[in-house]
């Protein structure tokens, strides 16, 4: 299909483009950004005046809940949510049932996702069998089956010897290891940041040390093994500072933050709002400020949705018993724009955090609009307000701390592989 997008504000962070012009697309590729090539006859034209035309969003952390947790969400519902949020590539986590630790499972998931013709799905393979932290998975075979990297999701890896060997083995093949830094013992039983709010509400705490102690181990092992490490969902000011120092040293470390954590803090728990029961926990306001600053100065490369659909019953429980997580696929763009507005960050720099930067972490030729690039685009109205309501969300999960809030920025069209897969 030949597609022309006319008069949009093209914002392509990688190529430094920010201009009102046209985009021509053919056979799944961007043909031209600028004047429509002579003799190009589009099958469809999209009028995009007043809209922003961005590379499709790349999300580093989405739980699609299949296989095994279809009562929380299905591939169909979450893939629809993804494109409704302008996401054209996403990493799904291995914490399914069964766990993504066998090539056959990965192939099946990729196949099923492909048949939905929506976002491109890049499974994160389990680093250890069953995510149990004991035995390595067949990483090379999993890579052949389609895994983009390897991690533990939110499952602990308490045995430092296994962690070190996993990093050595992964680096043998050049695979990157994705870890969310959290010491299993220090975090044991905790559900909220160890601060004033947890003290008032009597919620079992998780100290910042739970993050920094684990980070320290990971950084030391990254230095020793040379493994490429991606740190998932950093949550604290101290953690951000450690990562800044490690990167300054030249260690091959990248890092992301969950979109909820650049806006919310422990204060938002209010009177035990279980939608604010997140992993890692929402920390102090000073931590939130440090995450926002770390994102701006490049210590933190990317913002992820940390999408975690949870069924309603699992949230209608006392805070500690309620299942952790929030949906985010449809909020990633507006919440990133909100951060940019509040921090006075140019639109292109903000979009980089959800397009070209996560693509770079993944080693994908995506997240940009160069001629010849994959025709994955997100076309959005940067000025449209909308209210986050259960009925507005395509995701089967309606759990988000932003329910009832008005956000700015709405996806109008999502294009994957040159095809319009979502119209809002």
């Amino acid at each position: 299909m030949k597609l022309v997008i006319r008069n949009g504000r093209i914002v392509d962070p990688k190529n430094g483009v920010d201009a009102v012009t046209d985009v021509s697309i053919d056979a799944g590729k961007v043909i031209a950004v600028g004047p429509i090539p002579a003799g190009f006859h589009a099958d469809r034209e999209v009028e995009a005046s007043g809209l922003v035309v961005s590379p499709g969003l790349v999300d580093l952390s989405a739980r699609l809940r299949e296989p095994g947790f279809e009562y929380k969400a299905t591939l169909e519902s979450e893939m629809a949510a993804g494109v409704a949020g302008g996401i054209t590539s996403l990493v799904c986590l291995p914490d399914t049932d069964p766990v993504l630790d066998e090539p056959g499972l990965v192939e099946m998931l990729k196949h099923r996702a492909r048949n939905l013709h929506q976002a491109r799905v890049y499974p994160l393979g389990a680093l250890t069998r069953g995510l149990k932290g004991e035995w390595l998975t067949e990483m090379a075979e999993l890579r052949d089956a389609g895994c983009i990297a390897f991690g533990q999701s939110d499952m602990p890896l308490p045995n430092t010897r296994v962690l070190m060997q996993a990093m050595q083995y992964a680096s043998t093949f050049g695979f990157s290891v994705w870890l969310r830094p959290q010491d299993v013992h220090l975090a044991d039983g905790g559900v909220a940041h160890d601060g004033e709010v947890a003290t008032r509400l009597g919620l079992p705490p998780i100290s910042v040390c739970a993050e920094t102690v684990a980070l320290s181990n990971i950084i030391l092992m990254a230095r020793a093994t040379g493994a490429r490490v991606h740190l998932c969902r950093v949550s604290s000011a101290e953690g951000t500072a450690m990562i800044r120092a490690a990167r300054r040293e030249g260690l091959p470390i990248t890092c992301d933050v969950a979109v909820n954590h650049i806006h919310l803090s422990e204060m938002d728990i209010g009177y035990f709002d279980s939608n604010c029961h997140l992993v890692p926990p929402l920390r102090a306001l000073s931590d939130r400020e440090a995450l926002r600053a770390g994102l701006r100065d490049g210590t933190i490369d990317a913002i992820c949705s940390d999408h975690a659909p949870v069924d309603e019953d699992a949230k209608l429980l006392p805070f500690a018993e309620a299942e952790a997580g929030a949906v985010g696929l449809e909020l990633l763009l507006p919440l990133t724009l909100k951060w940019a507005t509040e921090m006075k960050i140019p639109l292109a720099a903000a979009l980089a955090k959800i397009t070209v930067e996560p693509a770079r972490i993944l080693g994908l030729d995506a997240g940009h609009l160069s001629a010849g690039a994959l025709a994955d685009l997100c076309i959005f109205d940067p000025d449209q307000y909308w209210t986050v309501e259960a009925s507005e969300l395509k995701s089967q999960g309606k759990n988000t701390p932003f329910l009832g809030m008005e956000l700015k920025g709405r996806v109008k069209y999502t294009v994957v592989d040159g095809n319009i897969v979502h119209e809002g």
Binding site: G195, G202, D313, L316, P318, A320
Partner: protein
Amino acid sequence: MSNNPQLNRNGQLQHLLTTEGLPAPILLNILDTAESFVGVTERDVKKVPLLRGKSIFNLFFEPSTRTRTTFEIAAKRLSADVVNLNIAASSQSKGETLLDTVNNLSAMHADMFVVRHAQSGAAHLIARHVRPEIHVINAGDGRHAHPTQGLLDVFTIRRYKPDFRSLRVAIVGDILHSRVARSQIHALTTLGVPEVRVIAPKTLLPTKVERLGVHVYHDMTKGLKDVDVLMMLRLQNERMFSARLPSTEEYFKYYGLTQEKLSLARQDAIVLHPGPMNRGVEIDSAVADGGQSVILPQVTFGIAVRMAVMSILAGN
């Protein structure tokens, strides 16, 4: 943060979930009302018809004998019908959720729920989901709050030391895990007590506890100096096995209340304990049974305070 979930549109008490955030006049009204019920509990006929025809459900998701019994007695002295449910042993083990249980009981036309649960926030959750005519009293949720205990403690203090504004109060022991301590602190600071101290080893104090408006001490000999009121906390046995303390003996030596340590406080200081006591762990028998102890009066006043809370809620 949403509006105070404990108050109705007219600013009256709708539920009693925590002593935090309640205006002083509401706390004082509870104490004054309780004062009038002390007489009832001392009469020959210990019953008033204030809650006749009302159904009060004691929902205890966590075992308790003492608190449940005092709530039961309080409700019966107000002529209410009382149903006791020990839910830890029934529907929860069959997979029914907390809110399922509450909804089922609401359908039986309950007027009031008295709730105890092992998780912080359970009473808030129930209060948020019950029909608007139902009142919820938190009888202890996790580490969060035990407001009727906090209120009966300040009631007891007022009986012996009527002027809150001239008091120095020390709370001693496992502050970290204590819903009683949290409810005491908020009640005392709201009622204008100028100096509330907490005394404990660092492993039994929550982070930033000073933000609750208390002064932190780790040394009993310093912390007890010149105090008017000592509020001892129960040390639960399971804390011994969590690497927070090395032994009950060492704990008693440094944080147990003996006559010797008590002598550091003011001469007319009173000693409270929410019970049940671990004699020889957090308190020496000589102190518990001594002339400065008001531990038994606390129990008596507890019934009057719970009667007050129930009658005020039923009237709002």
